[in-house]
């Protein structure tokens, strides 16, 4: 008996006695993946699902939109939308390196870069070959160039890292060095990409790569004092010559719930309430919640709750001709009706969106709940539920190619050549055609504002046209132009001691 027990104890005690390997059930060990074409594609596809964060109000879209005159989120009565001051600091250009949206923006861009590096690394480590491999590698490199282009635009001098195997903390490069890198990557890889966005919808294509190039050249004078107007024209022509894009007859076709058939959208972030809803709070396309009054959901039959926040400034709204310009339907203004056509009531009074806004931030005189006109360019889907719209977000449109080319021509002194380009875009709005004399830089700036409201173009435009630091509604003129670059986020500075802060900011 005794012996049996002792033996049992000793057998038990040395049975698998020191094996501490973990058994994994619900995820995949990294070294067991990347064995088939499909697995590579599923890994590479993350670049595109990462983009779903772009339109979030705490991400890059919020940062580059609220910091312009086209959007603001004032402190509203009942203590709403104070949010620790992030919205007023963006709008009034009083942001500091601690600003959360600016950090989120930085993080979005550099996480995108890092995941591109990792995808490219996995491709380089595998001998597996499949037909679309080279094309996919080129796509990832172009997407990485786009992240770098945005980071350079917003932050100037930024860290450069292109090799996933290099685990050292990256060095900061000048904006010019990044410019050269991005330019080269785009030129080298564009040829491997599809000609048409409809061919590779929602992914990097030739027109997308050339559009990025056009935007770089267009801003080159502002950034480096080195005008590249002809290069801008050439890059736009590269898109035009492909013949794969055209303007939609109806401006709003580009923003419908089912806008994936748009012939005008060059690059869209593909949202779908079922397949591509971001998966979490920070990656949903939720313009409806951001801007609509609590009761306005009943106008559109939206089931989600809306938050009554973002609106546009009075002066920006007033650049629209409400009677003639069909693009003024970008905005919701005046007394509101519910879906049945009856007045939309809140506390017994009709909701009436007014352009006037009491203040950006004043507890004694906050913005009223109904102040500020609201955004309705993207079609609001009846029955929308799940906090993510299914409309695809248009990052770049063909209208922009025509207008960038037109602007570059005007800046070259060739206004006559620019007239048909602007009028091609303008013809669908109901407004009269431009003459060459009317195409002043101020008019081009205003027209771009009307055409691209809330499309992420305004910040670049304001800086390029010298309007960024000027006084506007709820913001005085700035003493210098340091805010034309955002500060390097404080958290990024702590993480990477190689980084030098942009001038005008203290950590």
């Amino acid at each position: 008996m005794k012996k049996i027990l002792i033996t049992t104890v000793f057998i038990l005690s040395f049975f698998s006695c020191t094996n501490l390997d973990e058994t994994i059930y619900s995820s995949i060990p990294s070294d067991k993946f990347f064995t088939t074409e499909e697995e590579f594609l599923m890994s590479a596809g993350r670049v595109y699902s990462h983009l779903l964060g772009y339109t979030h109000y705490y991400n890059i879209w919020g940062t580059i939109t609220v910091s312009t005159d086209e959007a603001l989120s004032p402190l509203r009565e009942f203590n709403q939308w104070d949010d620790g001051g992030v919205w007023r600091d963006l709008h009034a250009h009083t942001f500091t390196p601690a600003h959360d949206n600016i950090y989120q923006t930085w993080d979005f861009l550099f996480t995108g870069i890092s995941l591109c590096n990792q995808i490219l690394y996995e491709f380089s480590q595998s001998t597996l070959d499949f037909p679309v491999k080279e094309n996919m590698i080129a796509e990832i490199k172009v997407m990485r160039a786009w992240f770098y282009f945005n980071a350079m635009d917003l932050f100037g001098n930024i860290p450069l890292s292109i090799d996933f195997a290099d685990v050292s903390i990256p060095q900061q490069k000048t904006r010019a060095e990044i410019f050269s890198f991005v330019e080269e990557e785009l030129k080298n890889n564009a040829s491997s990409l599809a000609n048409s966005p409809s061919e590779n919808y929602g992914r990097a294509t030739k027109p997308f790569a050339y559009t990025i190039l056009a935007k770089m050249y267009l801003n080159s004078e502002k950034w480096f004092g080195a005008p590249k107007w002809q290069e801008t024209v050439d890059a736009c022509d590269s898109v035009i010559k492909l013949g794969t894009l055209q303007l939609e007859n109806d401006y709003f076709t580009n923003f419908k719930v089912n806008n994936q058939s748009s012939k005008e959208n060059i690059f869209a972030i593909v949202y779908d309430k079922v397949y591509a809803n971001g998966g979490n709070w920070a990656r949903r396309f939720r313009f409806h919640q951001l801007t609509l009054h609590w009761e306005s959901t009943r106008t559109f039959g939206i089931i989600d709750e809306s938050w009554n926040g973002f609106c546009t400034s009075k002066s920006f709204f007033e650049t629209f001709d409400l009677t003639s310009d069909s693009r003024s339907n970008t905005w919701l203004y005046g007394p509101q009706l519910d879906a049945s056509g009856a007045p939309l009531l809140w506390y017994g009074t009709q909701v009436n969106y007014t352009p006037e806004i009491n203040s950006l931030f004043d507890w004694s005189n906050p913005a009223r709940h109904n102040q500020g006109v609201r955004f309705a360019k993207y079609e609001y889907e009846n029955g929308l539920q799940g906090e993510c719209m299914s409309n695809d977000y248009a990052v770049y449109r063909y209208a922009d190619i025509l207008m960038m080319k037109g602007e570059a021509l005007v800046r070259q002194g060739n206004a006559e050549l620019a007239v048909p380009l602007f009028n091609e875009v303008r013809s669908r709005t109901g407004l009269p055609d431009y003459t060459a004399a009317e195409l002043t830089l101020d008019e081009i700036y205003a027209e771009r504002g009307r055409e691209f409201a809330w499309e992420g173009s305004r910040r670049q435009d304001m800086i390029r046209f010298g309007k960024w630091t000027a006084a506007r509604d709820h913001k005085p003129a700035e003493a210098d132009n340091h805010t034309e670059l955002f500060p390097v986020p404080a958290r990024a500075m702590v993480n990477n001691s190689n980084l030098v802060q942009n001038s005008g900011y203290t950590n």
Binding site: M1, K2, L5, T8, V9, L12, C17, T18, N19, L20, D21, E22, Y25, S26, S27, I28, P29, S30, F33, G45, R46, Y48, S49, L52, F78, N79, Q80, D82, D83, V86, A98, D107, T111, S114, P159, F164, I169, P170, G202, V270, V274, Y275, A276, G278, G279, N280, R283, W294, E305, L345, Y347, T349, W363, S364, P366, G383, G386, A490, V494, N495
Partner: protein, 979 residues
């Protein structure tokens, strides 16, 4: 009663010791046989297993089941009667051949057994910092979780119930400060040797003793799980040779202690006028929303237990049923807890088998604290139910559109929120005496836990209007197995006593969970019991998920305890332990513990100091770890991405790395030094225990912000920081007065702890400051901060200086730049108390007893979130505000400052009980006790919120969040009958 279970162990053990340790003394005398009977005085029952030997001789016998013995002795010999936990008796033999011996329990606390993990010792011999309470000390009342029994009983152990009287609320236990930034912070629970048990599955009446290993030297034997201390629970076992039935029951009634002080409807109307606001916010009704969602509940409890059997086979079985109803309407917890223990002696009493089986189930209906917040700020002039202007989609409920503003009655009525939980634990503990002094133990245990939760939001639930009914379920199935064989050696060589263990431990845990959500139901009738009936699944909008994980923990351990003449004491232990959770470079760790003791009172020079009965100095050092970090944290894994991507006309899955892998991940390591003393003076009527400790936790785990690239994500889980805690603990217990009919016992504890975050940066990971205590709604601000060199728990913000003449708030401007910015922020309070204390008084007069327990805390600051938001008119109109808003002319918005950081010192009358033991002449009923108890009847505090005793665990302690459960007073009446 002492711990009967241990008797059998003790008999075998000490018989062996006596045999080994006795010195043969063979002087010639006329030998004869002396027989007799040993009886336990208190119960007048035979005491089997008592060791009887002739003093100075090497022979010994033990009493049989009827307490009888016979031994060979001569006249003039002294017979020694020994039984663990009883006063050892020495009786000189004269001419008699039959003697009756009555054993009396040893009244000295010093001989009480202390459970120390893989064995026991006595209070006088223990060298670590260990506290115990026995069932005699247990307070009565509505005890929903045995943890409650420890509240206010043990110095340095702070137990808080952050959800007040919520029947489904849990307790937070913190021992000697905070030692982790992100790992688990609760002590390790060991029930009858089974590690990692769940106390709530056990009825408090099934517990015999609870021992708490407080310092590192005592806890080190439990290695990577012991940093937060170890709570060892020993359940009641059968008393052989008796047949006993116990029945007990109580009912409890709860009322609201304090509710948020918001404006009534009439005050609301007056406030609208005062602030010049439109009376469109006046909806004409008068509703007390808090009253609408609360009730005055009645709780019932019934328990039954039987025990008995022969010496060689005995059992105890117990069953208890409680239906605990909560203050919030619908909330309740119904629990059924059963336990069976069987003990068997075999092979000439050398083999002992103990089977323990517990099975518990509970069914809960949860209280949603979000409903209470909505009720708190809801406009009191709104009616509850719809009028002619309410849009039809809101059902029968009055509706006003505003962001995150919902009718509380609709939320409550249109919501099913319930859960079921069951737990089975089975264990078998076999011990075999091989040769004298040597024993082999093997403990095999198996635990299985099942949980299922369901939510159903009805069609008119205002939070999910338009969902047409929304059902969610979550199921979880946990399983764990362990085997712990160990060898135990015990011997007494003259004055040298040695106890040693050596063992191996293997345990493995598995967890599987499943959840699903669907909406668009045709009928509310299904609740969450017909998940497939919702239409959202056809639209691709239902969700489903499942997962499985497992972990392993393996260790080798040993301990040697040595003492010389019970005067010089030493204990040394070592555990070599590996956890699957850690990085491949750091799977294994070494956890030593060493403690020494010196019983001064045993020294010759103390012999004349008659008023000192016992005094012992202790010192110890130990290393423990914390492995509560979740599975797979160190690995490079890929997970399925939440969203697909559009690829050539199809939606394709995405796969992404789960995290930045960290192959260096390891346990947090705590090193602790402890010194203290235990003293018994004035005939042991006054006992003092004192401890000083200094503990340092290194390699603190935290999620660090890291640069991207080269990392994939901006966060990485890494071992970096250092936290120090040091403090003192004092416990004094005494009997100030005792007489034939009256006895007064008093016990007081007081403890003090300070902590410091020494660092949270190193060469690889950097952090400037850690901002915590985030207030999301509308404000989006952090209210707390940690920096290197600071204490944890600091509130950080602008310092409020008062109001100016126009009602504007003034703040201290530190940077001289106009306006208050982050540069003007400073430390404006600290959440941790300077002292926590308790005082327990028990009076017995004849059959009456009366006791009360006071608990308190001094110097803890509390941030009152409700005041930050609702003390001021900013929300008035859509929402209600606090009455205190009207005390000032402040008209600004909600803004965080020291104005809302309040002194949370408090004194609570935790428990007050009056009991009566009825004297019965019945031959059927041996004991009958009736009692009434009041719990939480009185709180003395200057704090303006509901209750200053709030959560102190985690890195953001001391915030009184506005999602709250109301505090309750509880009145209990109970009865206990022993047959």
């Amino acid at each position: 009663m002492k711990i009967h279970v241990k008797r059998k162990f003790a008999v075998i053990l000490f018989t062996a010791i006596m045999l080994a340790g006795s010195v043969y003394a063979g002087y010639a005398q006329q030998k004869r046989t002396v027989s007799g009977k040993v009886t336990e005085t208190a119960t007048n029952t035979p005491l089997s297993g008592t060791t009887v030997n002739v003093k100075g001789a090497n022979s010994a016998v033990t009493t049989d089941a009827d307490g009888n013995f016979s031994i060979t002795a001569a006249s003039g010999d002294v017979l020694v009667f020994y039984f663990m936990g009883y006063v050892t008796q020495e009786i000189e033999i004269s001419n008699q051949s039959h003697i009756e011996v009555f054993m009396v329990e040893d009244i000295s606390e010093l001989d009480e057994l202390i459970v120390i993990g893989y064995g026991t010792t006595t209070k006088k011999e223990v060298t670590g910092s260990v506290s115990s309470i026995t069932s005699d000390d247990f307070k009565s009342g509505n005890i929903t979780d045995p943890v409650q029994l420890l509240q206010g009983q043990i110095a340095g152990l702070n137990i808080i119930r952050p959800d007040g009287g919520d029947p489904n609320g849990s307790f937070q236990i913190q021992l000697r400060g905070i030692t982790t930034m992100s790992g688990g912070a609760s002590p390790l629970i060991v029930i009858d040797g089974v590690v990692g048990g769940d106390l709530s599955s056990l009825s408090s009446s099934e517990i015999q003793t609870i021992d708490v290993l407080r310092d590192g030297s005592a806890a080190a034997i439990y290695g990577t799980r012991a940093t937060n201390g170890v709570i060892l629970v020993t359940t009641k076992k059968a008393v052989p040779g008796t047949s006993r039935l116990e029945f007990s029951s109580y009912i409890a009634y709860q009322t609201v202690d304090k509710k948020p002080d918001m404006l009534t409807a009439d005050e609301f109307r007056a406030a609208l006028a005062r602030y010049g606001m439109s009376n469109s916010a006046d909806h004409g009704a008068s509703t007390d929303w808090f009253d609408q969602v609360t009730q005055s509940p009645l709780t019932q409890n019934y328990e039954l237990s039987s025990s008995g059997g022969a010496r060689s086979l005995s059992y105890r079985a117990g069953i208890s049923w409680t239906n605990d109803r909560g203050l919030v309407k619908k909330s309740s917890k119904e629990s059924l807890r059963t336990r069976i223990n069987v003990s068997q002696l075999l092979v000439n009493d050398r083999l002992r088998l103990d089977y323990n089986v517990t099975y518990s189930t509970s069914k809960s209906v949860y209280a949603d604290t979000y409903i209470l917040r909505q009720a708190m700020f809801h406009n009191p002039t709104e009616p509850i139910y719809a009028d002619e202007n309410t849009p039809a989609q809101y059902g029968n409920y009055y509706y006003v559109g505003a962001m995150e503003y919902y009718n509380p009655v609709a939320m409550l009525e249109q919501f099913d929120d319930s859960g079921k939980r069951k737990q089975f634990t089975g264990s078998i503990n076999a011990s075999l005496s091989i040769i004298d002094g040597f024993k082999i133990h093997t403990l095999v245990s198996f635990t299985e836990t099942g949980e299922s939760y369901g939510h159903y939001y009805g069609k008119y639930n205002p939070v999910y209007i338009g969902n047409d009914g929304r059902a969610e379920t979550y199921n979880n199935h946990g399983k764990s197995k362990s085997i712990e064989p160990y060898l135990d050696y015990s011997a007494l060589f003259n004055d040298h006593r040695i106890q040693a263990i050596f063992g191996y431990s293997y345990s493995e845990q598995w967890n599987e969970s499943y959840s699903a959500m669907n909406y668009k139901f045709d009928s509310d009738m299904f609740s969450f019991y017909n998940l497939g009936a919702g239409a959202a699944i056809k639209d691709g909008l239902a969700t489903m998920s499942s997962s499985k994980s497992s972990s392993k923990l393996i260790s080798f351990f040993g301990r040697v305890m040595y003492n010389y003449k019970e005067k010089y004491l030493l204990s040394a232990s070592l555990r070599h332990e590996g956890s699957s959770r850690f990085g491949k470079n750091h799977k294994w760790g070494l956890f030593p513990g060493l403690s020494i003791g010196w019983r001064l009172s045993k020294e010759a020079f103390m012999e004349n100091v008659k008023w000192v009965n016992d005094i012992k100095l202790r010192a110890g050092f130990g290393v423990t770890g914390n492995q509560e970090i979740g599975n797979y944290q160190s690995l490079a894994i890929l997970r399925k991405g939440a969203s697909n991507f559009y690829y050539n006309g199809n939606w394709m899955s995405t796969y992404e790395p789960g995290r930045n892998p960290n192959f260096d991940l390891k346990w947090e390591k705590k090193q602790e030094f402890n010194i203290g003393f235990d003293a018994g003076i004035f005939d042991n009527r006054l006992n003092v225990n004192f401890d000083f400790y200094n503990r340092r936790t290194t390699d603190l785990l935290y999620t660090y912000s890291v640069p991207v690239p080269p990392n994939l994500y901006n966060r990485k889980f890494a071992n970096v920081g250092i936290i120090d805690n040091k403090g003192v603990e004092l416990r004094i217990s005494g009997i100030p007065y005792t007489s034939k009919n009256f006895r007064w016992n008093v016990t007081g504890t007081i403890s003090h702890n300070t902590n410091k975050l020494v660092s949270f940066s190193n060469a690889d990971y950097a952090m400037d400051a850690l901002d915590l205590g985030y207030f999301g709604d509308d404000l989006k601000i952090y209210t707390m901060r940690i920096e290197e060199g600071w204490s944890l728990g600091n509130f950080y913000g602008p310092k409020f200086l008062g109001f100016d003449d126009s009602g504007g708030a003034k703040y201290e401007d530190l940077d001289g730049v106009e306006g208050i910015s982050e540069a003007d922020y400073q430390i404006i309070g600290n959440a941790y108390p300077d002292f926590i204390f308790s005082l327990q008084n028990t009076f017995t007069y004849k059959n009456f007893d009366f006791s009360f327990l006071i608990r308190g805390s001094i110097g803890n600051d509390v941030l009152n979130q409700t005041r930050v938001y609702y003390e001021g008119p900013a929300y008035l109109g859509t929402k209600n505000i606090l009455k205190s808003s009207l005390d000032s002319d402040y008209t600004g918005g909600a803004y965080y400052s020291s104005r809302f950081v309040e002194d949370g010192s408090f004194l609570k009358l935790d428990n007050i009980t009056i009991g009566y033991n009825v004297s019965l002449k019945s031959e059927y009923i041996s004991k009958l006790r009736i009692y009434i108890t009041g719990q939480n009847l009185l709180t003395v505090t200057g704090y303006r919120g509901i209750d200053p005793e709030i959560s102190l665990s985690g890195l953001q302690p001391g915030i009184d969040w506005y999602d709250f459960y109301p505090r309750t007073k509880t009145f209990v009446a109970g009865i206990k009958i022993t047959f």
